[in-house]
Symmetry: C2
Subunit: 426 residues, 2 copies
């Protein structure tokens, strides 16, 4: 594939105007004014387009797209116990497959090329990922409420073993399997310890929820005499490469310690606002040197999977809360939504537009009203673009979405099947 | 026009499933399961669509769309004095016309059917409004920094007289001219008094900026020994029907007083965050009985004119700040974005889908991924829909936008001309 005369915006917000980008064997192999002769396959005129790195959704639960809008504006306990948990009790692998397909379709249309997920029926999620062409780090959520059981006794353990065997690095490496202890409050220190040992042995990365609500934070301090972050650290979890979602209620000492352990925070500002969890101190974390990626969380609490909105909310909220219009500038938030997410997923050759990197990218329409005029491409991308600006989404050099059409997903069938699933569930 | 089998969502969030909506002479003339026989003209199959009232953008400066992204992430003073003011110094009516057309095109594509504007070169804005088919309350911004001048001596006065004569109630009432004293800090009490008298005489409504920043609030208290809201009240401004934009720093007494005077607040949460002005206490104002509409503010400080995002930000922010997930529920925020805005504009037969009301509405695609599944239409509209969900925008029964195409605007020319304007300005 050869995209000619396109404006390329890097993960760090640097702009190259009117360059040619050649993609071969799924990777960027040439970016510049001159492109060596050769048969590059399809030629795309990029003169009205902006190329940005594919967006990485660093935290979601994609099958929960089935529960979009099922119980908004409710107290958290009532929402969980009367809406979410009863539906989850009835879920089958079939529901999870179609819910995942729906969420993946939405993400692809919004320019997302990779996501990190934590849920169950993960083989069905993996199937949807393989078929759709997107990338994902898939974590089988691990929780335990039975004091007689250890990690090795849990269904999550045997499922994780099977997932690693069947899906880890499958689809040309598009799928990576992560270890995913759900949180401090849904596990125990010994479970966390065993998960950490397991992850070390299998060289897995870790996804975990951390300090999402004030209640979680206070109850943990009551239970263990230390914060949830300290519990994770003391159980050996932070010895692995970890992505910790939310981190709304971290203490200053937590932040300092997590910087030392090189933990990545998956900041989910829209979900945190909607569930009234609070506002993460993202600017303080950033200035302390914390690695920060961005996530939508699930459509049950967001309610869409649009990373453009998530970038905007992150940047605007940081400014509004600090009363500093220079807080969390556009270049930092674009990096969080792209390269920082890819690194959190352990995808070191993804998340930016560089020679040799995997060709995950999005083409945006320069001539949509919201992209005009163009004083600053970066500003338009972060502060104005949206799903409607996306012309094309490409993963590993393969086009998944173009001009409103899906190339790997039968969207009519997905809509039909998700409606069928929902009618059985609710 | 007859739209059959469509799901209709009222401004208050009430849903009618699969009804027929007939439009005649620019008004809704029949809404129900049965529609009297007759020639209704074009017939639209609404079975995959949701009809919502047209969105009303209660505060913007549409020509400033030319300055979208021109100076983000900068201190406020630097942004104003080094970026915005120098460009505004060079603006001509031609620039204002094309900037307005660009902003109007963006708004129409986002489902906005009416907006309230405050700027200058208002005859050029009016021209764009008349040609595009949208509705607008247009205010000629009034400010005065010369102590020897009174309101009657200002160019804004003579322009306002001319605007009323030429454009007030023109385009079948689509244009209304408002009196628009810019703010307390850019005028004087005697100017405000004269504007109030003028507005009373000409039966105009008033648009004004109020307590946007802490600095404004504190300096006013220092200058006058009272808050900006009290200055407006004491100058007689609040004796008129007023829309006050921002209201971030109102005191409790201000809120109480403004409820008595029936002032409508134009809440602009995204602009307030981005310029780091702060977070308006919208839930407190609402519970005190204040009328609240929603506005995007200009694209120079937002940076898009998307009211779906504005609804979402308003609702999410209210929950996140209060730590109450039930704060500002979806039905309230939809009302703010529709009927409350129309009432603030003095358009009593607009802003809702009711027999006899002017037919300003938006059709949304029920089958886009972000609108599936549909546990709750209202939730999907407020918490998930976006510009990409909009299929059709109709004002006074006239279709302005359909399936990505403009019916009244030559968008290629608008994009071309705005680029030309910008190249001359910057």
């Amino acid at each position: 594939m050869l995209i000619t005369d396109v404006d390329v915006l890097s993960a760090e917000g640097k702009l190259q105007i009117g360059v040619n980008v050649a993609v071969k064997d799924g990777r960027f192999c040439c970016i510049g004014k001159q492109i060596p002769d050769g048969d590059w396959g399809e030629r795309i005129n990029g003169s009205g387009l902006i190329m940005i790195p594919g967006l990485v959704n660093a935290h979601t639960h994609v099958p929960m797209t089935l529960m979009r809008g099922y119980g908004d504006d409710m107290p958290l306990d009532k929402w969980l116990f009367e809406r979410i948990f009863p539906v989850e009790d009835k879920l089958t692998g079939d529901h999870v497959y179609w819910g995942s397909m729906l969420g993946i379709a939405e993400m692809i249309a919004c320019g997302i090329t990779s996501f990190s997920d934590m849920y169950y029926y993960c083989s069905n999620i993996s199937k949807a990922v393989l078929e759709s062409g997107i990338k994902a780090n898939i974590g089988r959520g691990i929780s335990c409420f039975d004091n007689t059981k250890r990690f090795a006794d849990l269904p999550a353990h045997s499922e994780l073993v099977e997932l690693i065997d069947k899906y880890h690095k499958s689809g040309d490496g598009r799928i990576l399997i992560d270890a995913a202890p759900h949180s401090e409050y849904t596990t125990r220190p010994d479970i966390l310890f065993d998960v950490a040992e397991f992850a070390k042995m299998h060289k897995l990365r870790v996804q975990v929820h951390l300090s999402e609500t004030r209640k979680e934070h206070l109850e943990c301090t009551g239970r263990h005499g230390k914060t949830p972050a300290r519990v994770l650290r003391d159980s050996g979890i932070f010895d692995l490469p970890v992505t910790a979602a939310h981190c709304v209620w971290l203490t200053d000492l937590d932040i300092e310690m997590m910087c030392e352990y090189d933990v990545t925070v998956a900041h989910c500002p829209q979900s945190n606002l909607k569930l009234a969890s609070g506002i993460a101190q993202v600017e303080k974390m950033r200035q302390a040197g914390m690695k920060i990626a961005l996530g939508t969380d699930s459509a049950a609490s967001n309610n869409n999977l649009d990373m453009f909105e998530e970038m905007r909310t992150a940047a605007l909220l940081a400014k509004g809360v600090s009363l500093d219009p220079c807080a969390l500038p556009a270049c930092k938030v674009l990096y969080m939504a792209t390269r920082a997410g890819a690194l959190a997923q352990g995808r070191h050759d993804s998340g930016d537009i560089k020679q040799g990197y995997l060709a995950d990218f999005v083409l945006l329409d320069k001539h949509r009203p919201e992209m005009v005029p163009c004083h600053d491409v970066l500003s338009n991308v972060v502060y104005s673009a949206g799903a409607a600006s996306v012309k094309m989404t490409v993963v590993n050099g393969r086009t998944l979405y173009r001009d409103g059409n899906y190339l790997t997903i039968d969207i009519d069938r997905v809509v039909f099947e998700t409606k069928r699933c929902v009618s059985l569930l609710i």
